[in-house]
């Protein structure tokens, strides 16, 4: 009995997926809120409430209502929160996407230390938690996952959609060629093709700069690619940021592990995995983003977190599964026959 108790995963792990959705929605909402706060700041700075249009007054009043409990001086205090997930400022702390650093190093062929420091915290977090950005923060992921849900509904009513498989290693090629292109152009090429950077920027453009920019078209194309060609295609096969995070998170400390004693080989984890990994055969690899969707879906609570820098090798079929019982029965028969 005690043995089974040890193998029971901590109750919270099964709920992390809900928390993850909250986190994605929260990040996305903040990205929408920030441009409005910026507009509000400029209205405050202009000292001309009476000259605002009704729409602008609406923004002013809403933002004032939101921020007045927190600050009496919005014009300067709201500078504490700026930017996007690509690069931002949170209470004086500058944070940048490690991919921004890689792109800048390649384009400039020089090191700017403040940017290295800004990318350090996300990079170290990625080394500990793996590719968690992709599942927990990335504003594009939210849209891609909703897109995948939409695709599921469309499939159910019989709309033919693409489900092609490519080589997952393609994205490392994208990362490498992005670096080379950045060196040649002397310009950070990743910024134009990296969905989270595009989404953050385009939300800002749409709200505060009077309309979407060129990146919105590219992002729309990636959504169509996911829908028509390959499920979650961009994240799985093409995203240079995902590639960088996978490399950084190769020896992550926190990883998901299958408990072979309670696994029943139902394959639900494999089906639900956004990145097409193989949890049922203990194959998480460097590309797992610890999204915990597999833990949440597991009917026998056979998936849990562990602290280790490597996946365990394949532990064999789950002990509650048909295959394992079949094999063990045969073994019993054999031993019975031998004696």
């Amino acid at each position: 009995m005690q043995h089974e108790q040890i193998n029971k995963p901590f109750f919270l792990w099964a709920h992390l997926n809900k928390l993850r959705w909250l986190s994605l929605i929260f990040v996305f909402s903040v990205l929408i809120l920030l441009p409005f706060l910026h507009l509000y700041q400029t209205y405050v700075a202009a000292h001309a409430y009476d000259l605002l249009t009704p729409d602008q007054k609406g923004i002013y009043d809403t933002m004032e209502w939101l921020t007045s409990p927190l600050t009496d001086n919005p014009e300067t205090d709201l500078n504490q929160l700026k930017g996007t997930t690509w690069s931002g400022t949170i209470f004086g702390l500058k944070l940048s996407d490690p991919l921004a650093l890689v792109g800048q190093l390649a384009a400039g062929l020089s090191i700017y230390w403040p940017l290295v420091l800004a990318a350090l915290i996300p990079a170290v977090a990625t080394m500990i938690f793996g590719r968690f950005f992709c599942g927990w923060i990335c504003p594009a992921s939210l849209i891609y996952e909703l897109n995948e849900t939409l695709a599921g509904w469309l499939r159910r009513v019989g709309v033919p959609l693409g489900d092609r498989k490519f080589d997952r290693r393609t994205k490392y090629l994208v990362l490498g060629s992005g670096v080379i292109i950045s060196v040649f152009l002397g310009s950070v090429a990743f910024a134009a093709v990296y969905p989270p950077a595009i989404v953050g920027r385009e939300i800002y453009y749409a709200i505060a700069q009077g309309g979407f920019g060129a990146g919105a078209v590219f992002f729309l194309l990636t959504i169509l690619f996911d829908l028509m060609v390959a499920r979650r295609g961009f994240c799985r096969y093409l995203c240079p940021g995902g590639a960088l995070y996978s490399l950084l998170g190769r020896y992550r400390l926190f990883r998901i592990k299958r408990i072979v004693e309670t696994c029943n080989d139902c394959r639900k984890c494999n089906v639900v995995c956004e990145f097409n990994l193989d949890p049922m055969h203990d194959d998480f690899g460097q590309e797992c983003n610890n999204c915990t969707a597999c833990i949440a879906v597991c009917p026998t609570d056979a998936l849990t977190f562990t602290v280790s820098i490597k996946d365990s090798p394949f532990l064999g079929p789950g002990h509650l599964g048909h295959e394992y019982r079949h094999v063990s029965h045969e073994a019993e028969h054999e031993t019975a026959a031998a004696s």
């Binding site: 996007t84 690509w86 800048q104």
Partner: protein
């Protein structure tokens, strides 16, 4: 750097034949300014990670972002069209810039005069009202660095001094159409 410029010219010409959109900015005739404190153009492009924070920090909302109209290399980079909305030299964009593409410069007259170089104002005496005998002086009054960057003589005729940092507030405020004073962007930009 030499090797890179060679590679650049080779791949640039190769790309130019393949791509419908131009890669480099050299062919366009856009007159725009970079935000105050921006590095020299090629260095600026290699530093800027297109995060959009300078625009978000700008209280005057004068910073805008390029689409493809200035070439692919300046996609999503910040620019200012002074006639539409000029820089008020608050220096907040440099404060927030994570890569130093826009240098951090203190919001003090001496620092601004020494370190900011967006361009130089130039007066077209054929259009300027003051040179046509009608006392105006609007550009002088709009200048944040009055009597240093711009002085007025008889009939409020403006005289721009080399100390002008090119913020564009004079061009923005000029009451003539077309404007009689305009910022000539520093050489590396145009």
């Amino acid at each position: 750097m030499k090797r890179r410029s060679f590679l650049k010219s080779v791949t640039g010409s190769a790309l130019a034949t393949c791509l419908p959109v131009q890669v480099s900015a050299s062919a366009t005739s856009l007159r725009y300014l970079r935000p105050p404190g921006a590095l020299e153009e090629s260095e600026f492009l290699s530093r800027c990670i297109r995060c959009g924070q300078c625009g978000e920090a700008c209280p005057n909302r004068c910073i805008k972002y390029f689409g493809t109209e200035n070439g692919l290399t300046s996609l999503d980079t910040p620019y200012i069209i002074p006639r539409e909305k000029a820089c008020i030299l608050c220096m907040k964009c440099g404060e927030v810039c994570p890569t130093g593409a826009i240098k951090e410069i203190k919001h003090k007259a001496a620092d601004i005069l020494n370190k900011v170089d967006m361009g130089q104002a130039r007066v077209d005496e054929n259009i300027c009202l003051s040179y046509q005998g009608k006392t105006c002086g609007v550009c002088y009054r709009a200048c944040p660095l009055q009597d240093v960057a711009i002085r007025v003589g008889m009939l409020e005729q403006p005289h721009v001094s080399p100390a002008c940092v090119g913020c564009g507030l004079c061009e923005r405020s000029c009451i003539q159409i077309p404007q009689a004073i305009r910022i000539i962007p520093r050489k590396s930009v145009s």
